[in-house]
Amino acid sequence: MSNMALICTLCFVAIASFISMRQKLGLEKEILIGTLRSAVQLLFIGYVLHFVFETSHPAFIVIIILCMILIAAWNAGAKAKHVRGIRSRIAITLACTEGITMAILLGLRIITPTPQYIIPVSGIIIGSSMIVCGLLLNHMKREMETARGEMEMLLALGATEKQAVHSSLRRSVRASMIPTVDGMKTVGLVQLPGMMTGMIVAGADPIEAVRYQILIMFVLASSAAMTAMVFGLISYKLWFTKDARLLPLLPAEDQ
Protein backbone atom coordinates (compact mmCIF):
# COMPACT_ATOMS: atom_id res chain seq x y z
CA MET A 1 0.00 0.00 0.00
CA SER A 2 1.50 3.32 -1.05
CA ASN A 3 1.96 6.22 1.37
CA MET A 4 -0.52 8.23 -0.66
CA ALA A 5 -3.16 5.50 -0.34
CA LEU A 6 -2.50 5.33 3.41
CA ILE A 7 -3.00 9.09 3.77
CA CYS A 8 -6.22 8.85 1.74
CA THR A 9 -7.65 6.53 4.39
CA LEU A 10 -7.99 9.62 6.57
CA CYS A 11 -11.10 10.49 4.56
CA PHE A 12 -12.93 7.81 6.61
CA VAL A 13 -11.95 9.64 9.78
CA ALA A 14 -13.23 12.84 8.17
CA ILE A 15 -16.60 11.16 7.54
CA ALA A 16 -16.87 10.10 11.20
CA SER A 17 -15.89 13.58 12.45
CA PHE A 18 -18.28 15.27 10.03
CA ILE A 19 -21.21 13.14 11.23
CA SER A 20 -20.27 13.76 14.86
CA MET A 21 -20.19 17.55 14.31
CA ARG A 22 -23.32 17.60 12.22
CA GLN A 23 -25.30 15.52 14.73
CA LYS A 24 -23.73 17.35 17.70
CA LEU A 25 -22.56 14.05 19.20
CA GLY A 26 -19.52 15.76 20.71
CA LEU A 27 -17.28 12.83 19.77
CA GLU A 28 -14.79 14.77 17.59
CA LYS A 29 -12.14 14.87 20.29
CA GLU A 30 -12.55 11.15 20.98
CA ILE A 31 -12.34 10.37 17.27
CA LEU A 32 -9.18 12.47 16.91
CA ILE A 33 -7.52 10.78 19.90
CA GLY A 34 -8.64 7.36 18.62
CA THR A 35 -7.23 8.09 15.16
CA LEU A 36 -3.89 9.27 16.47
CA ARG A 37 -3.56 6.44 18.94
CA SER A 38 -4.43 3.68 16.50
CA ALA A 39 -2.06 5.10 13.86
CA VAL A 40 0.83 5.55 16.27
CA GLN A 41 0.26 2.19 18.06
CA LEU A 42 0.01 0.25 14.80
CA LEU A 43 3.02 1.93 13.18
CA PHE A 44 5.00 1.34 16.37
CA ILE A 45 4.09 -2.34 16.54
CA GLY A 46 4.83 -2.62 12.80
CA TYR A 47 8.40 -1.46 13.39
CA VAL A 48 8.77 -3.63 16.49
CA LEU A 49 7.61 -6.71 14.58
CA HIS A 50 9.89 -5.84 11.70
CA PHE A 51 12.81 -5.78 14.14
CA VAL A 52 11.77 -8.97 15.95
CA PHE A 53 11.26 -10.91 12.71
CA GLU A 54 14.72 -9.84 11.56
CA THR A 55 16.53 -10.88 14.75
CA SER A 56 14.20 -13.84 15.44
CA HIS A 57 15.47 -14.07 19.05
CA PRO A 58 13.15 -16.03 21.41
CA ALA A 59 13.65 -13.47 24.21
CA PHE A 60 11.94 -10.79 22.12
CA ILE A 61 8.99 -13.07 21.44
CA VAL A 62 8.58 -13.70 25.15
CA ILE A 63 8.84 -9.98 25.96
CA ILE A 64 6.19 -9.09 23.38
CA ILE A 65 3.81 -11.78 24.64
CA LEU A 66 4.32 -10.64 28.26
CA CYS A 67 3.56 -7.05 27.25
CA MET A 68 0.38 -8.21 25.50
CA ILE A 69 -0.71 -10.10 28.63
CA LEU A 70 -0.02 -7.18 30.97
CA ILE A 71 -1.81 -4.63 28.80
CA ALA A 72 -4.78 -6.96 28.30
CA ALA A 73 -4.98 -7.68 32.05
CA TRP A 74 -4.85 -3.98 32.87
CA ASN A 75 -7.53 -3.21 30.31
CA ALA A 76 -9.97 -5.99 31.27
CA GLY A 77 -9.39 -5.37 35.00
CA ALA A 78 -10.62 -1.77 34.64
CA LYS A 79 -14.15 -3.21 34.56
CA ALA A 80 -13.92 -4.24 38.21
CA LYS A 81 -11.34 -1.96 39.81
CA HIS A 82 -12.98 -2.29 43.22
CA VAL A 83 -12.23 -6.01 43.30
CA ARG A 84 -8.74 -6.21 44.77
CA GLY A 85 -6.29 -8.45 42.94
CA ILE A 86 -8.46 -8.90 39.88
CA ARG A 87 -5.77 -7.74 37.44
CA SER A 88 -3.20 -10.24 38.64
CA ARG A 89 -5.79 -13.02 38.34
CA ILE A 90 -6.54 -11.97 34.76
CA ALA A 91 -2.83 -11.93 33.94
CA ILE A 92 -2.40 -15.44 35.38
CA THR A 93 -5.42 -16.66 33.40
CA LEU A 94 -4.17 -15.16 30.14
CA ALA A 95 -0.71 -16.62 30.70
CA CYS A 96 -2.22 -20.08 31.32
CA THR A 97 -4.43 -19.95 28.24
CA GLU A 98 -1.62 -18.64 26.04
CA GLY A 99 0.88 -21.13 27.42
CA ILE A 100 -1.30 -24.21 27.00
CA THR A 101 -2.62 -23.22 23.58
CA MET A 102 0.82 -22.36 22.24
CA ALA A 103 2.27 -25.57 23.64
CA ILE A 104 -0.35 -27.59 21.73
CA LEU A 105 0.08 -25.56 18.54
CA LEU A 106 3.87 -25.93 18.57
CA GLY A 107 3.93 -29.43 20.07
CA LEU A 108 1.70 -30.86 17.35
CA ARG A 109 3.57 -28.79 14.75
CA ILE A 110 0.37 -27.09 13.70
CA ILE A 111 2.28 -23.83 13.28
CA THR A 112 5.99 -23.35 12.74
CA PRO A 113 7.98 -21.93 15.65
CA THR A 114 8.81 -18.60 14.07
CA PRO A 115 7.86 -15.12 15.30
CA GLN A 116 5.76 -14.61 12.14
CA TYR A 117 3.34 -17.25 13.42
CA ILE A 118 3.75 -17.13 17.18
CA ILE A 119 3.22 -13.40 17.67
CA PRO A 120 0.07 -12.84 15.57
CA VAL A 121 -1.57 -16.04 16.84
CA SER A 122 -0.69 -15.09 20.43
CA GLY A 123 -2.23 -11.68 19.84
CA ILE A 124 -5.45 -13.31 18.70
CA ILE A 125 -5.52 -15.71 21.67
CA ILE A 126 -4.74 -13.06 24.28
CA GLY A 127 -7.07 -10.48 22.71
CA SER A 128 -10.06 -12.79 22.61
CA SER A 129 -9.31 -14.14 26.10
CA MET A 130 -9.22 -10.58 27.36
CA ILE A 131 -12.70 -10.06 25.98
CA VAL A 132 -13.88 -13.28 27.65
CA CYS A 133 -12.47 -12.06 31.00
CA GLY A 134 -14.15 -8.68 30.54
CA LEU A 135 -17.52 -10.29 29.78
CA LEU A 136 -17.19 -12.60 32.76
CA LEU A 137 -16.40 -9.65 35.03
CA ASN A 138 -19.34 -7.64 33.72
CA HIS A 139 -21.66 -10.54 34.28
CA MET A 140 -20.35 -11.26 37.76
CA LYS A 141 -20.83 -7.60 38.67
CA ARG A 142 -24.46 -7.88 37.65
CA GLU A 143 -24.83 -11.18 39.53
CA MET A 144 -23.48 -9.50 42.68
CA GLU A 145 -26.53 -7.25 42.53
CA THR A 146 -29.23 -9.53 41.18
CA ALA A 147 -28.27 -12.77 42.93
CA ARG A 148 -27.08 -11.13 46.15
CA GLY A 149 -30.09 -12.39 48.09
CA GLU A 150 -29.51 -15.96 46.96
CA MET A 151 -25.81 -15.83 47.81
CA GLU A 152 -26.46 -14.35 51.26
CA MET A 153 -29.16 -16.92 51.92
CA LEU A 154 -26.66 -19.69 51.19
CA LEU A 155 -23.96 -18.02 53.30
CA ALA A 156 -26.44 -17.68 56.16
CA LEU A 157 -27.00 -21.44 55.94
CA GLY A 158 -23.27 -22.00 56.38
CA ALA A 159 -22.24 -22.32 52.73
CA THR A 160 -18.63 -21.79 51.69
CA GLU A 161 -17.82 -18.97 49.28
CA LYS A 162 -17.58 -21.47 46.46
CA GLN A 163 -21.00 -22.95 47.22
CA ALA A 164 -22.57 -19.51 47.54
CA VAL A 165 -21.19 -18.20 44.26
CA HIS A 166 -21.53 -21.44 42.28
CA SER A 167 -24.75 -20.68 40.35
CA SER A 168 -23.74 -17.11 39.60
CA LEU A 169 -20.32 -18.17 38.44
CA ARG A 170 -21.77 -20.83 36.17
CA ARG A 171 -24.11 -18.29 34.56
CA SER A 172 -21.22 -15.84 34.14
CA VAL A 173 -18.89 -18.42 32.60
CA ARG A 174 -21.63 -19.39 30.19
CA ALA A 175 -22.39 -15.80 29.26
CA SER A 176 -18.73 -15.04 28.65
CA MET A 177 -18.38 -17.95 26.21
CA ILE A 178 -21.55 -17.40 24.21
CA PRO A 179 -20.20 -14.73 21.83
CA THR A 180 -17.29 -16.99 20.83
CA VAL A 181 -19.55 -19.98 20.27
CA ASP A 182 -22.05 -17.86 18.33
CA GLY A 183 -19.20 -16.45 16.27
CA MET A 184 -18.24 -19.99 15.25
CA LYS A 185 -21.72 -20.55 13.85
CA THR A 186 -21.88 -17.47 11.62
CA VAL A 187 -18.26 -17.01 10.60
CA GLY A 188 -17.86 -16.79 6.84
CA LEU A 189 -21.59 -16.26 6.35
CA VAL A 190 -21.91 -12.87 8.01
CA GLN A 191 -18.40 -11.57 8.32
CA LEU A 192 -15.04 -12.55 6.86
CA PRO A 193 -12.60 -12.63 9.74
CA GLY A 194 -9.70 -10.18 9.81
CA MET A 195 -6.93 -12.73 9.54
CA MET A 196 -8.42 -14.44 6.50
CA THR A 197 -9.18 -11.11 4.85
CA GLY A 198 -5.61 -9.99 5.47
CA MET A 199 -4.14 -13.13 3.93
CA ILE A 200 -6.37 -12.86 0.86
CA VAL A 201 -5.49 -9.17 0.39
CA ALA A 202 -1.83 -10.06 0.73
CA GLY A 203 -2.21 -12.50 -2.18
CA ALA A 204 -2.64 -15.86 -0.44
CA ASP A 205 -4.83 -18.58 -1.92
CA PRO A 206 -8.33 -18.26 -0.34
CA ILE A 207 -8.34 -22.01 0.46
CA GLU A 208 -5.07 -21.64 2.35
CA ALA A 209 -6.46 -18.56 4.09
CA VAL A 210 -9.56 -20.53 5.11
CA ARG A 211 -7.45 -23.35 6.55
CA TYR A 212 -5.72 -20.91 8.84
CA GLN A 213 -9.00 -19.30 9.75
CA ILE A 214 -10.43 -22.68 10.74
CA LEU A 215 -7.39 -23.18 12.96
CA ILE A 216 -8.00 -19.77 14.54
CA MET A 217 -11.71 -20.42 15.14
CA PHE A 218 -11.00 -23.70 16.94
CA VAL A 219 -8.19 -22.13 18.94
CA LEU A 220 -10.56 -19.32 19.97
CA ALA A 221 -13.22 -21.77 21.11
CA SER A 222 -10.81 -23.71 23.30
CA SER A 223 -9.10 -20.62 24.67
CA ALA A 224 -12.45 -19.03 25.54
CA ALA A 225 -13.42 -22.16 27.47
CA MET A 226 -10.06 -22.38 29.17
CA THR A 227 -10.03 -18.69 30.07
CA ALA A 228 -13.54 -18.68 31.47
CA MET A 229 -12.91 -21.79 33.52
CA VAL A 230 -9.50 -20.84 34.90
CA PHE A 231 -10.53 -17.24 35.56
CA GLY A 232 -13.73 -18.28 37.32
CA LEU A 233 -11.81 -20.74 39.46
CA ILE A 234 -9.03 -18.42 40.60
CA SER A 235 -11.09 -15.24 40.96
CA TYR A 236 -14.35 -16.23 42.71
CA LYS A 237 -12.95 -15.63 46.18
CA LEU A 238 -12.15 -12.02 45.32
CA TRP A 239 -15.88 -11.19 45.44
CA PHE A 240 -15.85 -11.97 49.16
CA THR A 241 -14.07 -10.43 52.11
CA LYS A 242 -11.61 -12.53 54.09
CA ASP A 243 -14.32 -13.49 56.56
CA ALA A 244 -16.63 -14.77 53.82
CA ARG A 245 -18.99 -11.81 53.50
CA LEU A 246 -19.98 -10.48 50.08
CA LEU A 247 -18.07 -7.40 48.94
CA PRO A 248 -20.21 -4.31 49.48
CA LEU A 249 -21.98 -2.94 46.42
CA LEU A 250 -20.48 0.12 44.78
CA PRO A 251 -22.44 3.36 45.01
CA ALA A 252 -24.30 3.89 41.72
CA GLU A 253 -22.12 6.76 40.46
CA ASP A 254 -18.92 4.69 40.68
CA GLN A 255 -20.15 1.83 38.54
Binding site: G149, E150, E152, M153, L154, L155, A156, L157, G158, A159, T160, Q163, S167, T241, D243, A244, R245, L246, P248
Partner: protein, 233 residues
Protein backbone atom coordinates in the same frame (compact mmCIF):
# COMPACT_ATOMS: atom_id res chain seq x y z
CA UNK B 1 -25.86 3.57 62.76
CA UNK B 2 -25.68 2.46 66.38
CA UNK B 3 -23.06 2.22 69.12
CA UNK B 4 -22.53 1.02 72.63
CA UNK B 5 -24.53 -2.19 72.40
CA UNK B 6 -23.58 -4.63 75.13
CA UNK B 7 -25.81 -7.61 75.47
CA UNK B 8 -25.77 -11.30 76.06
CA UNK B 9 -28.00 -14.09 74.81
CA UNK B 10 -28.30 -17.12 77.04
CA UNK B 11 -29.85 -20.59 76.85
CA UNK B 12 -33.56 -20.68 76.00
CA UNK B 13 -33.69 -16.87 75.66
CA UNK B 14 -36.71 -15.67 73.72
CA UNK B 15 -35.95 -12.10 72.82
CA UNK B 16 -38.13 -9.71 70.86
CA UNK B 17 -36.13 -6.95 69.18
CA UNK B 18 -38.29 -3.86 68.92
CA UNK B 19 -37.73 -0.35 67.61
CA UNK B 20 -38.75 2.09 64.91
CA UNK B 21 -37.68 1.71 61.28
CA UNK B 22 -34.10 2.66 60.50
CA UNK B 23 -32.80 1.99 64.02
CA UNK B 24 -30.53 -0.77 62.73
CA UNK B 25 -32.40 -3.83 63.98
CA UNK B 26 -31.78 -5.80 60.79
CA UNK B 27 -28.19 -4.59 60.65
CA UNK B 28 -27.67 -5.87 64.19
CA UNK B 29 -28.96 -9.32 63.20
CA UNK B 30 -26.80 -9.31 60.07
CA UNK B 31 -23.75 -8.38 62.14
CA UNK B 32 -24.49 -11.22 64.56
CA UNK B 33 -24.67 -13.67 61.66
CA UNK B 34 -21.43 -12.23 60.19
CA UNK B 35 -23.12 -11.06 57.00
CA UNK B 36 -22.48 -7.37 57.64
CA UNK B 37 -19.14 -5.77 58.60
CA UNK B 38 -18.92 -3.66 61.75
CA UNK B 39 -16.54 -0.84 62.55
CA UNK B 40 -15.83 -1.48 66.21
CA UNK B 41 -16.43 -4.00 68.90
CA UNK B 42 -16.47 -7.76 69.23
CA UNK B 43 -19.04 -10.48 68.99
CA UNK B 44 -18.40 -13.58 71.05
CA UNK B 45 -19.83 -17.07 70.78
CA UNK B 46 -19.00 -19.63 73.46
CA UNK B 47 -16.36 -17.24 74.73
CA UNK B 48 -14.52 -17.00 71.40
CA UNK B 49 -14.47 -13.88 69.25
CA UNK B 50 -16.02 -14.04 65.76
CA UNK B 51 -12.55 -13.61 64.21
CA UNK B 52 -11.44 -16.89 65.77
CA UNK B 53 -14.29 -18.81 64.16
CA UNK B 54 -14.58 -20.09 60.64
CA UNK B 55 -17.49 -17.97 59.36
CA UNK B 56 -19.19 -21.13 58.09
CA UNK B 57 -19.10 -22.84 61.50
CA UNK B 58 -20.36 -19.66 63.16
CA UNK B 59 -23.30 -19.36 60.76
CA UNK B 60 -24.28 -22.98 61.31
CA UNK B 61 -24.79 -22.16 64.97
CA UNK B 62 -26.21 -18.64 64.56
CA UNK B 63 -28.53 -18.54 61.60
CA UNK B 64 -30.17 -15.49 60.09
CA UNK B 65 -33.59 -15.74 58.44
CA UNK B 66 -34.26 -12.73 56.22
CA UNK B 67 -37.59 -10.95 55.99
CA UNK B 68 -37.70 -11.40 52.25
CA UNK B 69 -37.52 -15.11 51.49
CA UNK B 70 -35.18 -16.09 48.67
CA UNK B 71 -36.02 -19.40 47.04
CA UNK B 72 -33.44 -21.56 45.30
CA UNK B 73 -34.57 -22.29 41.78
CA UNK B 74 -36.15 -25.73 41.78
CA UNK B 75 -38.74 -27.56 43.77
CA UNK B 76 -39.88 -27.28 47.37
CA UNK B 77 -37.93 -30.49 48.09
CA UNK B 78 -34.80 -29.00 46.56
CA UNK B 79 -35.13 -26.03 48.93
CA UNK B 80 -35.68 -28.28 51.92
CA UNK B 81 -32.60 -30.27 50.99
CA UNK B 82 -30.39 -27.17 50.75
CA UNK B 83 -28.72 -27.73 54.11
CA UNK B 84 -27.98 -31.40 53.55
CA UNK B 85 -26.66 -30.53 50.08
CA UNK B 86 -24.37 -27.78 51.43
CA UNK B 87 -22.96 -29.78 54.30
CA UNK B 88 -23.05 -33.27 52.85
CA UNK B 89 -25.27 -34.53 55.68
CA UNK B 90 -28.13 -37.02 55.23
CA UNK B 91 -31.51 -35.39 54.63
CA UNK B 92 -33.84 -35.79 57.60
CA UNK B 93 -37.09 -36.43 55.84
CA UNK B 94 -39.09 -37.03 59.01
CA UNK B 95 -37.92 -33.80 60.63
CA UNK B 96 -38.64 -31.79 57.48
CA UNK B 97 -42.18 -33.20 57.32
CA UNK B 98 -42.76 -32.38 60.97
CA UNK B 99 -41.61 -28.77 60.54
CA UNK B 100 -43.60 -28.35 57.33
CA UNK B 101 -46.70 -29.68 59.06
CA UNK B 102 -46.17 -27.38 62.05
CA UNK B 103 -45.69 -24.38 59.76
CA UNK B 104 -49.01 -25.12 58.09
CA UNK B 105 -47.39 -26.43 54.92
CA UNK B 106 -48.33 -30.07 55.48
CA UNK B 107 -50.43 -30.15 52.32
CA UNK B 108 -47.80 -28.53 50.08
CA UNK B 109 -46.63 -30.67 47.17
CA UNK B 110 -42.86 -31.08 47.49
CA UNK B 111 -42.51 -31.34 43.72
CA UNK B 112 -44.01 -27.91 43.18
CA UNK B 113 -41.67 -25.17 41.98
CA UNK B 114 -40.71 -23.06 45.01
CA UNK B 115 -41.05 -19.91 42.92
CA UNK B 116 -44.74 -20.71 42.37
CA UNK B 117 -45.53 -20.63 46.10
CA UNK B 118 -47.26 -17.56 47.53
CA UNK B 119 -45.23 -14.98 49.46
CA UNK B 120 -46.47 -16.34 52.79
CA UNK B 121 -45.69 -19.94 51.83
CA UNK B 122 -42.20 -18.94 50.71
CA UNK B 123 -41.62 -17.15 54.00
CA UNK B 124 -42.54 -20.29 55.94
CA UNK B 125 -40.54 -22.58 53.64
CA UNK B 126 -37.49 -20.34 54.15
CA UNK B 127 -37.93 -20.70 57.90
CA UNK B 128 -38.22 -24.48 57.71
CA UNK B 129 -35.15 -24.55 55.45
CA UNK B 130 -33.17 -22.70 58.13
CA UNK B 131 -34.55 -24.92 60.92
CA UNK B 132 -33.17 -27.93 59.03
CA UNK B 133 -29.72 -26.53 59.82
CA UNK B 134 -30.51 -27.16 63.51
CA UNK B 135 -28.91 -23.94 64.71
CA UNK B 136 -28.48 -22.94 68.34
CA UNK B 137 -29.54 -19.33 67.87
CA UNK B 138 -32.05 -18.14 65.31
CA UNK B 139 -32.01 -14.52 64.16
CA UNK B 140 -35.49 -13.86 62.81
CA UNK B 141 -36.14 -10.72 60.78
CA UNK B 142 -39.90 -10.09 60.61
CA UNK B 143 -40.48 -13.59 59.38
CA UNK B 144 -44.27 -13.43 59.72
CA UNK B 145 -44.75 -10.14 57.84
CA UNK B 146 -46.54 -11.80 54.87
CA UNK B 147 -48.57 -14.32 56.86
CA UNK B 148 -52.28 -14.50 57.57
CA UNK B 149 -53.25 -14.67 61.28
CA UNK B 150 -53.65 -18.47 61.24
CA UNK B 151 -50.23 -19.15 59.70
CA UNK B 152 -48.68 -16.55 61.95
CA UNK B 153 -49.94 -18.39 65.03
CA UNK B 154 -48.70 -21.68 63.61
CA UNK B 155 -45.21 -20.23 63.13
CA UNK B 156 -45.23 -18.70 66.63
CA UNK B 157 -46.24 -22.06 68.11
CA UNK B 158 -43.60 -23.88 66.07
CA UNK B 159 -40.83 -21.55 67.22
CA UNK B 160 -41.94 -21.57 70.86
CA UNK B 161 -41.72 -25.35 70.79
CA UNK B 162 -38.43 -25.22 68.94
CA UNK B 163 -36.78 -22.84 71.41
CA UNK B 164 -37.68 -24.99 74.39
CA UNK B 165 -35.78 -27.93 72.86
CA UNK B 166 -32.07 -28.55 72.46
CA UNK B 167 -29.63 -28.95 69.55
CA UNK B 168 -27.11 -31.72 70.32
CA UNK B 169 -27.56 -31.05 74.00
CA UNK B 170 -27.20 -27.25 73.67
CA UNK B 171 -30.12 -25.04 74.64
CA UNK B 172 -31.61 -22.99 71.84
CA UNK B 173 -32.55 -19.31 71.72
CA UNK B 174 -33.91 -16.74 69.32
CA UNK B 175 -33.72 -13.03 68.69
CA UNK B 176 -36.81 -11.99 66.80
CA UNK B 177 -37.46 -8.63 65.13
CA UNK B 178 -41.15 -7.86 65.06
CA UNK B 179 -43.35 -4.82 64.59
CA UNK B 180 -46.30 -6.61 66.06
CA UNK B 181 -46.59 -5.91 69.80
CA UNK B 182 -49.12 -8.71 70.30
CA UNK B 183 -46.64 -11.09 68.75
CA UNK B 184 -43.83 -9.73 70.91
CA UNK B 185 -45.92 -10.46 74.03
CA UNK B 186 -46.59 -14.02 72.91
CA UNK B 187 -43.17 -15.08 71.70
CA UNK B 188 -40.75 -13.35 74.07
CA UNK B 189 -39.70 -13.31 77.68
CA UNK B 190 -37.34 -10.38 77.12
CA UNK B 191 -37.53 -7.26 75.01
CA UNK B 192 -34.60 -5.40 73.51
CA UNK B 193 -35.68 -1.94 72.46
CA UNK B 194 -33.50 0.01 70.01
CA UNK B 195 -33.77 3.79 69.70
CA UNK B 196 -31.48 6.80 69.38
CA UNK B 197 -28.67 4.70 67.94
CA UNK B 198 -28.33 2.36 70.88
CA UNK B 199 -29.96 -0.46 72.77
CA UNK B 200 -32.08 1.79 74.97
CA UNK B 201 -33.86 -0.86 77.00
CA UNK B 202 -33.42 -4.48 77.92
CA UNK B 203 -36.27 -5.69 80.05
CA UNK B 204 -38.56 -8.49 80.94
CA UNK B 205 -41.40 -8.52 78.39
CA UNK B 206 -44.23 -8.02 80.88
CA UNK B 207 -42.35 -5.22 82.63
CA UNK B 208 -41.53 -3.53 79.33
CA UNK B 209 -45.14 -3.36 78.23
CA UNK B 210 -46.56 -2.45 81.62
CA UNK B 211 -44.05 0.13 82.57
CA UNK B 212 -41.41 1.04 79.97
CA UNK B 213 -38.39 2.76 81.50
CA UNK B 214 -37.81 5.30 78.75
CA UNK B 215 -40.01 7.97 77.22
CA UNK B 216 -39.05 6.69 73.73
CA UNK B 217 -40.38 3.23 74.52
CA UNK B 218 -43.60 4.69 75.90
CA UNK B 219 -44.08 6.71 72.71
CA UNK B 220 -43.22 3.71 70.59
CA UNK B 221 -45.76 1.46 72.30
CA UNK B 222 -48.46 4.12 72.14
CA UNK B 223 -47.70 4.77 68.45
CA UNK B 224 -47.97 1.06 67.62
CA UNK B 225 -51.21 0.72 69.57
CA UNK B 226 -52.73 3.75 67.79
CA UNK B 227 -51.75 2.29 64.44
CA UNK B 228 -53.28 -1.03 65.37
CA UNK B 229 -56.45 0.74 66.53
CA UNK B 230 -56.69 2.57 63.20
CA UNK B 231 -56.21 -0.57 61.14
CA UNK B 232 -58.99 -2.26 63.09
CA UNK B 233 -61.50 0.57 62.57
Amino acid sequence: MFRGITAEIGPHDQIALLGGSGQGKSTLLRILSLLEPFDNGTVLLEGRSSTEWRPQSWRRKITYVAQKPVMRSGSVACNLRTVSMLHGTPFEDELARRYMEAAGLGQTDWNKQAADLSGGEQQRLALVRSLMLQPELLLLDEITSSLDPGSKQAVEKLLLEWVSGTTNGTARAYLWITHDLEQARVISDQVWFMAEGCLLEKANTAAFFENPASEQARLFIRGMQDERGKSHE
